[in-house]
């Protein structure tokens, strides 16, 4: 294989696919990026396709910003390639020339030789199942991106209950719901797909990493097609112009497990409702959080019916205390004082830019609920303040 690549485009592509490369693996091939260079039939410049996988998630993306001089394949260790491509910043182009397991990378004044592995050993990245009758749908890229960013922040990290390390995706007709929880809070986002195949409601649990990766690939893309098979979810990013690529496929194994019955924990009988401008509430909670510490992590939120104001206070032993007053747009119900982990509140407010939010509560030891329109529900358990 011999290709002359635009360095900037190559760097973008390598950085993106590096996101799924295994950092350590008993199969050293998985620490590499696979290059596949093909000439166009009509004698054009040709395309290179980069593939990477960590055995759970795999990605394949193509770039036309390369001149293929000799077709072929190569496996190049991802971290070295990334370092070289980003360090060779004087050259507009880099030449990758591989022979068997060894690839040489040439810049204007530099010549690197990097040892890889035989390209045949690399696992195939699945193709998007076109017209196979599988469960699939198409959705606006921006809509999917909103769904992802409104849920992934609530997933558990490294929890031994693997199911909640991922995000539940449920589709019924055009309606799509994504749900994430770490056992202390739960985020539920809803949206509509453009078109779909496959009947009946379908649910699957998608690893958080796959969704984070998908979210990166969504920028600069109009529409995404998503297919769910028995054990995999496959995204195809149409019209993608990421790094000038001609089309990108991301596939991920699904999480095997049972997601907790999330409908049970969404409260139905909240009797106190306050509405706020997102920005003013977010800023107040962030400021109150300044005077919390390990020992005293919660902030106290006192909603006053008569004052129509929210007083957020915090106190850290031997450090000090804070009190912030926030104007409420409206408040409905009796006075209530309730404690929350401020990070849990700001996490949710961050994904609701420029909107109005409603906080619904019942009692200091019952869950609070943040809502934005009909498409976002966030249930957050309080901190028991003594």
């Amino acid at each position: 294989m011999k290709v002359i690549c635009d360095r900037a485009a190559l760097m973008d592509a390598v950085n993106l696919v590096s996101g799924v490369v295994a950092s350590r693996s008993p199969r050293p091939q998985l620490t590499c990026i696979k290059f596949d260079a093909r000439k166009d039939g009509d004698g054009g410049a040709g395309t290179i396709t980069l593939s990477a996988t960590d055995a759970e998630i795999s990605i394949r993306m193509s770039s036309a910003q390369a001149e293929v001089q000799k077709e072929g394949e190569a496996l190049i260790p991802a971290d070295k390639l990334r370092q070289i491509v980003s360090a060779e910043d004087k050259d507009p182009t880099l030449t990758l020339d591989s022979d068997g397991e060894m690839t040489s990378i040439r810049g204007a004044d530099a010549h690197f030789k990097v040892y890889g592995y035989p390209p045949g050993d690399f696992p195939e990245v699945p193709d998007f199942p076109e017209d196979s009758g599988d469960d699939s749908f198409a959705i606006d890229a921006s809509t999917l991106s909103t769904l992802i960013s409104r849920t992934t922040f609530s997933t558990a990290r490294e929890n031994s209950r693997y199911a909640i390390n991922g995000v539940l995706m449920r589709r019924e007709g055009k309606k799509i719901e994504m749900v994430a929880t770490d056992g202390r809070r739960l985020a539920l986002a809803k949206a509509s797909a453009n078109e779909f195949t496959g009947d009946g409601p379908s649910t699957c649990i998608v690893p958080t990493k796959a969704l984070t990766m998908a979210n990166k690939l969504l920028s600069g893309c109009d529409q995404v097609r998503v297919a769910v098979t028995d054990n995999q979810i496959i995204f195809k990013f149409d019209d993608s112009d990421v790094a000038g690529a001609g089309g990108t496929v991301l596939a991920s194994n699904l999480v095997d497990g049972t997601f907790p019955p999330y409908q049970d924990v969404i409260p139905k009988d909240q009797d106190k409702r306050a509405t706020f401008a997102v920005e003013s509430l977010g800023s107040a909670v962030r400021r109150a959080a300044l005077l919390t510490n390990e020992e005293s992590r919660g902030v106290r939120m006192a909603f006053g019916k008569d004052t129509q104001a929210l007083k957020i206070s915090s106190r850290a032993p031997e450090m000090g205390e804070a009190e912030i007053n926030v104007e409420m747009k409206s408040f409905d119900g009796d006075d209530i004082e309730i404690g929350f982990n401020p990070a849990f509140i700001t996490d949710a407010l961050k994904v609701l830019p420029g909107e109005e939010v409603m906080i619904e509560m019942k009692a200091p030891n019952k869950p609070g609920m943040i809502k934005s329109g009909n498409d976002f529900v966030y249930v957050v358990m309080p901190v028991n303040l003594q």
Partner: protein
């Protein structure tokens, strides 16, 4: 090394009794009077010479030390071994068919305690098993039975509480007691004693009553020393062991200390003694002959504290334990645990579960909450890994006093330690000890609730309350958490418990099912994941 605790009062100028002191003492007397007296009036009064009240004008501090405690308990529980050399800790020597000892199988235990009969053979505390086997091959070797010792220790301290409410245990087998202001109460026990003799001798009488009460209630002998401060009290209790009794009035302190060797003094170990000898101090008298000023100048804090204490300066009980920073519990396995087998990991986890339960039991007793957890793993080569985690942000727990919150974190820390942090070499060696440490302690509690648990929070707290009450009455091991059963089963193989069962009529309440719900960290998730 100078010990700042020796004389906490030294910094204060004159020892003028304040109103607060007087109040405290009258309270103290009232407390003491209201309790059961349990001891009998017995020993005759012996005149040591004295001129009335001034003999014990200030503080009266006693030091109580149970004689060869562990060995004594073994003798108490098994009359057949009384009088024989008893060594607690290592197993008995294994012998070849020809009767010679196979030292290669002596193990790596150390002597925890030996009785006087064994000490006559030269067996000492902290001596390796091989050496003990060599010195005393025919001794009676008994394993440590911590729970039994703790149980008796609690009983002894309970007897002490009948005498004074001001007690400060400084180990399982010793404590300091404040006898100050108990003269009138003691007088009630000895109405016929000669007033002048009594004024000088009452602390000794009281100590003797205490010693007898302990003996009659528990069958254990103790040595008690009394003095105006802890320094003298400790020297006095060591003076005449076993079953010693010695009271040193303030004005007799100097003479008493002069009669001792330099190395007997608290704070003077072998290194310090060498240093003092180089400076020309060969006996306590060499220090006491100086003026206070020059003792301070030549020997610093150490000189000053020895000089002051030996001149009968008032002392106090050790400071109330400073605010705790952490609570740790650990356990050394009888045999190294393999890291590669599932059984090994399960046993480590079971042990950690038990240790977490113990540590949080202590937390609850002290009304504290922990906000960080660390797991300690010591490998057979004595290298050690400690891995900590805050219960804050990621786990969203904040702080807790329940092991149900702590165990998932402990489990993860152990897993990470064994899979990521430990070297192949360490893993090959196997694990010798595991421990749990709870840090970030605070009386402040902020608990992040979990989804779906709002109703269960109170329920869980009340289960802990009941469990704590059962443990308070019947001992910690009366209840076991389901996941620590493996460790309990293993432990009972090493620890004979027939005495606990027969002597004490103790109920063994094992209810793993009952506690399992408490132990489950994710109450909400439990039912959904049970089929996983």
């Amino acid at each position: 090394m100078p010990d700042p605790d020796t004389q906490p009062d030294l910094a204060s100028p004159a020892q003028q009794p304040t109103q607060a002191d007087a109040d405290a003492r009258s309270r103290h007397r009232a407390d003491a009077r209201s309790t059961d007296r349990g001891a009998r009036v017995g020993d005759g009064v012996r005149t040591v010479g004295g001129t009335g009240e001034s003999a014990w004008g200030g503080r009266v501090i006693a030091h109580l030390d149970l004689d060869c405690f562990f060995a004594q308990v073994e003798e108490l529980d098994d009359p057949a071994i009384r009088g024989k050399p008893v060594i607690v800790g290592p197993p008995a020597p294994t012998r070849f068919p020809n009767g010679r000892i196979d030292f290669s199988r002596s193990g790596r235990g150390i002597v925890c305690t030996s009785n006087y009969a064994a000490r006559a053979f030269g067996v000492r505390t902290a001596m390796p098993a091989t050496q003990a086997h060599r010195l005393c091959p025919d001794g009676v070797y008994r394993p440590c039975r911590g729970e039994r010792y703790r149980e008796l220790s609690r009983e002894v301290f309970a007897v002490c509480e009948d005498f004074t409410p001001r007690i400060r245990p400084v180990g399982i087998d010793e404590c300091y007691l404040d006898f100050s202001g108990l003269a009138r109460w003691t007088r009630g026990r000895y109405p016929d004693a000669d007033p002048e003799v009594f004024a000088h001798d009452w602390p000794r009488l009281l100590a003797s009553d205490l010693r007898d009460a302990i003996e009659s209630r528990t069958g254990l002998t103790a040595s008690i020393g009394v003095g105006p401060n802890r320094f003298i009290a400790k020297l006095a209790s060591d003076y005449d062991k076993p079953r010693g009794l010695k009271a040193v009035a303030p004005r007799d302190c100097s003479a008493f200390v002069r009669g001792l060797k330099l190395g007997d003094l608290r704070g003077v170990g072998p290194k310090t003694r060498e240093r003092l000898e180089r400076l020309g101090f060969r006996t306590p008298s060499d220090i006491l002959d100086l003026t206070r000023q020059s003792a301070c100048e030549r020997l610093g804090d150490l000189g000053r504290s020895i000089w002051d204490a030996s001149h009968g300066k008032d002392g106090d009980l050790p400071d109330e334990r400073e605010q705790r920073k952490s609570i740790s519990r650990d356990r050394t396995f009888a045999e190294n645990i393999s890291c590669s087998s599932g059984d090994g990991r399960r046993e480590m986890l079971a042990t950690l579960s038990r240790l977490s339960a113990k540590a949080t039991y202590s937390l609850r007793k002290e009304c504290l909450f922990a906000s960080s957890v660390s797991v300690r793993v010591r490998f057979a080569d004595f290298s050690q890994i400690q891995h900590d985690r805050s219960l804050g942000a990621e786990d969203g727990i904040g702080s807790t006093d329940q092991d149900a919150d702590i165990m998932p974190v402990v489990e993860r820390l152990l897993e990470e330690t064994l899979t990521r942090r430990a070297s192949q070499k360490q893993l090959r060696h196997g694990v010798r000890l595991v421990g749990v440490k709870l840090g970030g302690l605070s009386a402040l509690r902020q608990r992040q609730l979990r989804l779906g648990e709002e109703e269960q929070v109170d329920q869980r707290a009340s289960v802990y309350k009941v469990a704590d009450e059962i443990r308070r009455r019947l001992g910690f091991d009366a209840l076991s958490i389901g996941r620590s059963i493996e460790s309990d089963a293993k432990r009972s193989r090493h620890v004979p418990t027939q005495h606990d069962a027969s002597d004490r009529g103790k109920q063994q309440v094992n209810s793993p099912q009952g506690m399992d719900g408490v132990d489950d960290p994710e109450l909400w998730l439990r039912r959904d994941l049970s089929d996983d």
